[in-house]
Symmetry: C2
Subunit: 384 residues, 2 copies
Amino acid sequence: MSAPVAPFPQVDHQRALFPEGLALDCGTMIAPLAVAYRTYGTLNAARSNAVLVCHALTGDQYMAEPHPLTGKSGWWDSIVGPGKPLDTDRYFLICVNVLGGCMGSTGPQEEMTDAEGRGLGRPWGTDFPNITIRDMVRAQKRLTDHLGIGRLLAVVGGSMGGMQALEWAATFPDAVYAAAPIATAAYHSAQNIAFHEVGRAAIHSDPAWKGGRYWEDGRVPAQGLSVARMVAHITYLSEQALTRKFGRRLRGASALTFLEDVFEVESYLRHQGSTFVRRFDANSYLTITRAMDYFDLAQEHGGDLASAFRGTKTRFFVASFSSDWLFPTAESRQIVRALNAAAANVSFVEVTSDKGHDAFLLDEPDFHRALGGFLAGCADRLGV
Amino acid sequence: MSAPVAPFPQVDHQRALFPEGLALDCGTMIAPLAVAYRTYGTLNAARSNAVLVCHALTGDQYMAEPHPLTGKSGWWDSIVGPGKPLDTDRYFLICVNVLGGCMGSTGPQEEMTDAEGRGLGRPWGTDFPNITIRDMVRAQKRLTDHLGIGRLLAVVGGSMGGMQALEWAATFPDAVYAAAPIATAAYHSAQNIAFHEVGRAAIHSDPAWKGGRYWEDGRVPAQGLSVARMVAHITYLSEQALTRKFGRRLRGASALTFLEDVFEVESYLRHQGSTFVRRFDANSYLTITRAMDYFDLAQEHGGDLASAFRGTKTRFFVASFSSDWLFPTAESRQIVRALNAAAANVSFVEVTSDKGHDAFLLDEPDFHRALGGFLAGCADRLGV
């Protein structure tokens, strides 16, 4: 099926195949469509307890189990499990590798197909069509339909996952009882686009990049992708978090060596970069960052964000974190104002945290209580 | 004298040569010492109207005249000139290319010398010793002594230039009547170190880098240095400034192309990066960013910042900008608190601006009035 070019062994991901393919916002039809996913918990007889969890830029469907490539625990283990806010005893959780990803769903790393869906014996690479957050959501909708789920109890996601939660509520309002966009925004800001562009420039300047055809000689632009991860990682943290973690601590004894990593924060960043390239494809990184940059929900609805939610029956839970400077609280407030203007049912919480954007992935009891309470309340109303 | 490896034509910079050399903090003696500089205005008979202006990371001595390489106007033209805050009719302004720079002062691009100061027919490159902000200041002191200036009316600088102004006041208190550290800090924060490290990693990952010996084949790590400049440039601006300048404006008509620069902010950043490499040496960038990272004035004085200024007679003007997130106002307040604890004469202003760190270089009338007033007041007291 696929022509792997990744630096890591391919995994036999659980996935659903849709031969008819998917029509993308850019006008291209991509077929077949593969949607890789994981589920946790049990779907009840009424099929009314399904919660879709949308992952962030570099996340994947393995949110609550050891990662098949790195062996690390799931990115949302802290919140998913029996008795946890995303309670696997009560909810049927679905997590989908986004369209354009590199963990089994149709993406730049998978085998390129022609208009008739015939495999061309080479990966898509940079020939993979431009996709949008809405395309990702449409692919997820194919899966929930396939699973016989007419309406999701909730769509939950942080960062880019939150963009998907907003897009779900705007595009398929009747299929979403509740939506929880977390640490996110209704559009990608100029500064965030700029940081993404630095990462893309780093990948493009790697000699192994070869205009995106690095799969030809089985090499990957590891150094460029590593630099991209390093700069992105800084934006996921906060000045306070970095200072608490590392301050100005030096690694060596001497303060005046010329090691490539003199300060602890440097070796930490380089470690982040070097481990990332073992699990993520550079062309996927370019495709997904671009999709985030394009995201502008108001623009999709005539420039008026409120009109994206006009008449919605979906219940919303919007959460931000006080030290998140990548998706600052002000951008969550814009979502809340639009939802209020659309007379939607919305609750909003700004969680006080000094952990930066990553706070939504970390142990934040107040946030966990608030999200868990919101979901439980929705489930109670539906008699789940 | 020098073995140029830069991608730009060498300029016959005005400079003073000190054959005896300079003893560096790292324990190395570097000889001869070359200090490239420019002066503006006229030194009065009493030699009492000299103001030293210290440039930032990527600045140089050409602060108020067309740049010899780019032809662009001086980086502080807005503030330097007849009748301007740094009034060339009243003050004798001196601007020095920092030690480790690439515009004529001793640095990685200049010819390497042995312990006896004999030229080795190759540039220093990465063999250039580690330097500190204090080393830069000591080199500047050699020049002011050489010019017969016993006491400077003032030392003024923004960003890394502000670090030098603080170091001048701490190291040569009797030689500095007034000091104006602007948009700066008494130490480099973990986040700032992290952003510098991303830039260094980008340079190190450029195939032309060749472990720093790129001068051997006359090439330069242009792509890596360009990426370093791009990420640094984002930190010099503010979210508001980026949004006002570019917002989410697309360059092309289509919103779904895969051009390397789809958004205007991207082409702007790439332009910043590509023009920078025409005037700046990668090894200088590594040397100077490292010097900034090392800077910790309190650590130089037993961990107590106030003791760096104990008993000082120097008058201080500290200025920060409200939207500067690289050197936030909180870090200027730490300087002010230490100066107060040292019973120093200090005035502090936080300028309300949405232009970010770069505000100190831009047209900020309130800032210009405050700085000009401070300098004029000092000059009046000295009867200059």
